[in-house]
């Protein structure tokens, strides 16, 4: 065999080898793609199940919170009004009886308002800004601390699930502040930038060490909840210097 023949064989062999190599490569890639696709589908199903579980938990917690609130209202507000009505209606004086009937009207209004909060349909009609405003007004009306809300309306458009999770996370943040921080002031600021919108919750209370395990798990839950709706949860706190929480959601 002369050298030219050898070289020709090398050329043919190299061409066939490269062709074979590429065929193997493409087949392998399709095979890996199929495998990863199955893994990805499994992961997505898992994420979807986790998301649904979170939403169910959030709904349940909001329900519980509402029931507690309703109980408190029945005891502190409607109960008092009913006692007053009874007293007035039992009075022989006609003006007292008129006052009693006015109280009855007020009770009917209060009960109607309360009954509306018992199912979660109110979530559909209330905007996040309104919800935060109501929560802050409630806190302030108890005389617990001063509150302020500053909003540019960037959270007015939200899906029901996003709103549900945000409401629960905000509720939890405010509860934590009231229960553990004893602040003089709670400020909430809603603003947006080019990529995302932010809710900042700032209190000037006792603060805490976020690295401690006892506080970490609650924060971890809030963080996970924000992640299920594609958002982020940031917290900075220092003993004696208050707490600053940021909830971020992309557009």
């Amino acid at each position: 065999m002369n050298p030219a023949d050898n070289q020709i064989y090398i050329i043919i062999f190299s061409t066939l080898f490269l062709g074979g190599l590429m065929s193997t490569f493409v087949v392998a890639m399709v095979f890996i793609h199929r495998q990863r696709q199955a893994q990805n589908r499994q992961k997505m199903d898992q994420m979807r199940a986790e998301f649904e579980k979170t939403i169910r938990n959030v709904e349940h917690e909001i329900h519980q919170e509402t029931l507690t609130q309703v109980g408190r209202e029945l005891h502190d507000n409607i109960g008092q009004l009913l006692s007053l009505t009874k007293l007035n209606l039992n009075s022989p004086k006609p003006e007292k009886q008129t006052e009693g009937r006015e109280y009855l009207d007020k009770i009917i209004k209060e009960v109607r308002a309360l009954s509306k909060t018992l199912n979660l349909d109110w979530l559909e009609s209330v905007s996040l800004d309104d919800f935060i405003r109501q929560q802050l007004e409630k806190i302030q009306s108890t005389g617990f601390c001063q509150t302020a809300l500053e909003s540019d309306g960037s959270y007015l458009e939200l899906s029901k699930d996003q709103k549900l999770v945000l409401i629960r996370v905000i509720q939890e943040c405010l509860n934590n502040a009231i229960k553990h921080a004893q602040p003089d002031r709670i400020d909430i600021r809603i603003a947006k930038n080019n990529q995302s919108r932010r809710i900042e919750i700032q209190d000037d209370g006792a603060g805490f060490d976020p690295s401690k395990a006892s506080t970490g798990s609650g924060m971890f839950n809030l963080k996970k909840r924000m992640e299920t709706i594609g958002g982020k949860f940031y917290l900075t706190s220092e003993v004696g210097k208050g707490t600053h929480i940021t909830l971020e959601l992309p557009f």
């Binding site: 070289q7 061409t15 590429m22 065929s23 793609h33 990805n40």
Partner: protein
């Protein structure tokens, strides 16, 4: 009466298929809505196809008009082999087509990978220019280094596409067998790997074993036709929604 040499130059099965493909793609492209025509998913394959068919026909013309070919060769300094039209294929196929194919593959990659193709295009253009200006590789004869460089870059770009296919979430939820980008990349991969050795040793093969040289050259032509068919399908994909899926990284405003 028509010169019989015209038929010899332009009448091969290869040129007929290419010309039909061009006519078909022109019809399909101009049938697309205006906003789709402005999208690189459609105009880039159309541009590549036009470029490919035009230079192949120009190549056929150089074989038909020997005096023209001879004059260009003489202008470039090649008086030794006036029959060569390698200068045309060096510029249009080995250089411009490589860059266009790199752009096409780039359009299917996620943004984080596009920068690698950008760098490949810059370096390929700069190296090809330096090699030709310094006369390391002459324009009118074989350019094995430039071809090998371009072919390697195409193969790497195809590799990047396949990496995206198995890592990108959007590609993972799609069926690759229904993606034209997958088929086009696969055909490009085969085209460049099957013609790699024969293209680098083209002149040697023609000198030593012309029959084998021509046979291997035919492989290149068959692969060329397959690639052109893939380009036609890319343009026609807007009308073939039952057969092919939309590209996972398709952006309507691109």
């Amino acid at each position: 009466m028509i010169d019989p040499n015209i038929w010899i130059a332009f009448g091969s099965w290869y040129h007929i298929i290419l010309d039909i493909s061009l006519l078909l793609s022109i019809y399909l492209f101009f049938k697309l809505p205006k906003e789709k025509r402005a999208n690189s998913t459609y105009w880039l394959p159309f541009l590549i196809l036009c470029h490919f068919v035009v230079y192949q026909n120009f190549g056929a013309y150089t074989n038909y008009n020997f005096e023209f070919k001879k004059a260009v060769n003489a202008y470039l300094g090649n008086t030794e082999n006036p029959k060569f039209n390698l200068w045309l294929y060096n510029i249009t196929e080995r250089q411009i087509l490589t860059v266009l194919y790199l752009f096409l593959i780039r359009s299917w990659l996620e943004p984080s990978m596009k920068k690698y193709i950008n760098w490949m295009i810059y370096s390929f253009v700069v190296i090809a220019l330096i090699l030709q200006i310094t006369k390391v590789e002459l324009m009118y004869t074989e350019q094995p280094v430039i071809f090998a460089l371009g072919a390697n870059m195409i193969l790497i770009a195809c590799g990047l596409y396949f990496i995206g296919l198995i890592t990108n979430e959007k590609y993972l939820v799609s069926n690759p067998l229904r993606l034209l980008s997958f088929w086009t990349t696969t055909f490009l991969l085969f085209n460049y790997s099957l013609t790699y050795v024969s293209s680098v040793s083209l002149l040697y093969l023609y000198r030593v074993n012309p029959v084998l040289g021509k046979s291997l050259f035919q492989i290149g032509r068959v692969m060329g036709v397959i690639n052109i068919s893939a380009l036609v399908l890319l343009i026609a994909s807007a009308f073939l929604t039952k057969l092919f899926d939309r590209e996972p990284l398709y952006e309507s405003g691109r």
